[in-house]
């Protein structure tokens, strides 16, 4: 792989082992300058380890990491042009807000003048809307404010890469949403490469321009949020990112016919098969997003299942229905308000038909053990 200067960070066959445990396994990843990348995956999949290897707090067991074209193996954290926003902020408790934010600037060589430091600290505090808090002690700040101090302390140094480890996890939902928007705005204004670690798929999809889905130390899919959501590379991604209905089936006749558990068959040719490759004969799983399902009281053309509504959950802008289909299991269906008028909503106990456009069904071969 040729090294291009537009890449801020490159992982080349990076593996990290802790004793017998492999936390990160043979990762190859390029993050271009100015990108907003989200490392998304369940807890323990190696996201933090990847971030810590960029920051210089862990060294790869195998492979190399490059930052701005320079190989970083063996380079100490304090010599790296990146800054990190720690999950629990890691603010210095014996310093006030201003001293915390100024800390990185004070370490810079050649030394910055006092005036310069205080100007930049002021700017950074204004950027995170904390002007007027300079003299506050850390323990006098709320969680959300501490979060901003941590952010200011990192961006004040104008690093080429900002690393964020679940920065919003400790905030309540309302504050989290507000901070998501602020972070996004900040990233665009500063043009700094952001690498965000999160286990929250909504956060990853809404903030990042590239999402890297990980599981068990490996990358499962890398792509734009829409691509990840609409064309999941495998069943894990389909399950982890957004909600998914799963139908077990058996592919027959060279993968052109899918026989379902209730004996019915559907044609596979029109269905997207993960990554575009055809499915071989054998067990498969069909994945369909709840909002792609169509629910009606009368049978509609196309593939359809007959079932009975068991639950209805009104969520405001959308309504979720649980529908039990004999032989196939439970389905989740999301209808927005336009789908069915409020006074005509389907009620639990009603019999309905579920349909879906063929292209909404993703067919994945089931890995044989």
């Amino acid at each position: 792989m040729a090294l291009t200067s537009s890449n801020d960070i490159e992982f080349r066959s990076v593996t990290k082992k802790y004793g017998a445990l492999t936390a990160v396994s043979d990762i190859n990843l390029s993050i271009s300058k100015g990108a907003f990348l989200a490392l998304l995956g369940p807890s323990g999949c190696g996201k933090t380890t990847c971030l810590r290897m960029i920051g210089g707090f862990e060294q790869p067991s195998e492979g190399t990491i490059h930052i701005a074209g320079r190989e970083m193996n063996g380079v100490a954290a304090y010599h790296r042009p990146v800054n990190m926003v720690f999950q629990h902020y890691a603010l210095f408790p014996h310093f006030n807000v201003e001293q915390n934010v100024a800390y990185g600037l004070r370490q810079m060589r050649p030394r910055l003048s006092r005036a310069e430091i205080s100007r930049r600290v002021g700017e950074a505090l204004a950027m995170v809307r904390l002007d007027g808090f300079a003299g506050r002690r850390i323990h006098e700040m709320s969680g959300g404010q501490q979060q901003r101090v941590a952010l200011a302390r990192a961006i004040v140094n104008r690093p080429s890469v900002l690393l964020l480890d679940e920065p919003l996890a400790a905030l309540d939902k309302k504050l989290r949403t507000a901070m998501q928007i602020e972070l996004q705005t900040l990233q665009r204004e500063l043009g700094i490469t952001f690498v965000l670690v999160t286990h929250d798929q909504e956060e990853a999809l809404s903030m990042a321009d590239t999402v890297c889905v990980m599981s068990a130390g490996r990358i499962r899919q890398l792509g734009a949020p829409q691509e990840i959501y609409d064309r999941p590379a495998d069943l894990f991604v389909a399950d982890f990112v957004g909600k998914t209905n799963r139908i077990e089936a058996v592919a027959e006749a060279g993968g052109t016919v899918l026989r379902l558990a209730d004996g019915s068959a559907m044609s596979s040719s029109a269905h997207s098969t993960g990554g575009g490759a055809g499915v071989p004969n054998g067990k498969v799983t069909i994945a369909i997003r709840p909002e792609k399902m169509r629910m009606s009281r009368a049978a509609a053309p196309g593939p359809a299942f007959k079932g009975r509504v068991t639950h209805r959950i009104f969520l405001g802008s959308v309504t979720e229905y649980a529908v039990a289909v004999p032989g196939l299991g439970d389905f989740l269906v999301t209808e927005d308000r336009n789908g069915l008028a409020t006074d005509n909503m389907v009620s639990p106990g009603e019999e309905v038909f579920l349909g879906f456009p063929p292209e909404a069904a993703h067919v994945f071969p089931v890995q044989q053990p």
Binding site: G55, G56, F57, Y78, V82, A90, F92, Y103, Q107, N157
Partner: protein, 269 residues
Amino acid sequence: MRALVTAVYLFLYAPIALVVLFSFNAGRSAVQFTGFSADWYGKALSNVLLMDALKNSLLIAATSAILAVVFGTMAAMGLERLGARMRALFDGLLAAAIVVPGVVIGIATLVALVQLFDVLNPLLAGLWPGQEAPKLQLGYGSIIAAHGLFTMALVTMIVKARIASLGRDIVEASSDLYASPLTTFREIVLPQILPAVLAGFLLAFTFSFDDFIIAFFVAGSKTTLPIYIFASIRRGVTPEINAVATMVLGASLLMILIARFLMREKTTR
């Protein structure tokens, strides 16, 4: 039950109270209180031999406590970096070092030093360019070494607990913000562990200042305050000795109280 508890406490504290009481006795007797006076304090403070012993004790306590704090803190920081198994081993060794009786430490140090001197002194004499080679012998140095080693374990324990409660987060944050390990220690770690370090110093100082047993074995011809008190008691207990004991008690209590305060502050913050 209540009576028993009262008896136990009486048994523990009555002698100490008596010592304090009789230090203010106007007469010479250590059994008959004949009136209130602070004269014996004045006598004690003008006793040259006593003041000499006190000076020795202060010097030894200060030096050994400084050594204990420097090396104990370094040890505590180093232990943080060990793997789990090595750390468990060293934790065990530390705890063991603290419970070893003073007599054993005294004898062990004495034997070790005497044997070391036996090896070193001839070597020194051979290598010395002048006529009279200095001879290594028991004295201040050996007391400081013995006290310093013992109290270092104490300091290590106290500082280690504080470092563990620090977490690696702020150390990493400092290094993330371009600070070298030395700067991180000076600006971030040291201010955080300072109360524990000071508490360790005070406890080490108090221990050394009060210690009789270890000093008795390794002091050689030198006299520390506890050794002086021990020697003079053989000539009979006087109110002067009671006055000295009361002053030592007061100073020790004060230092231990300060140390406790310093250690408590760290946990509540």
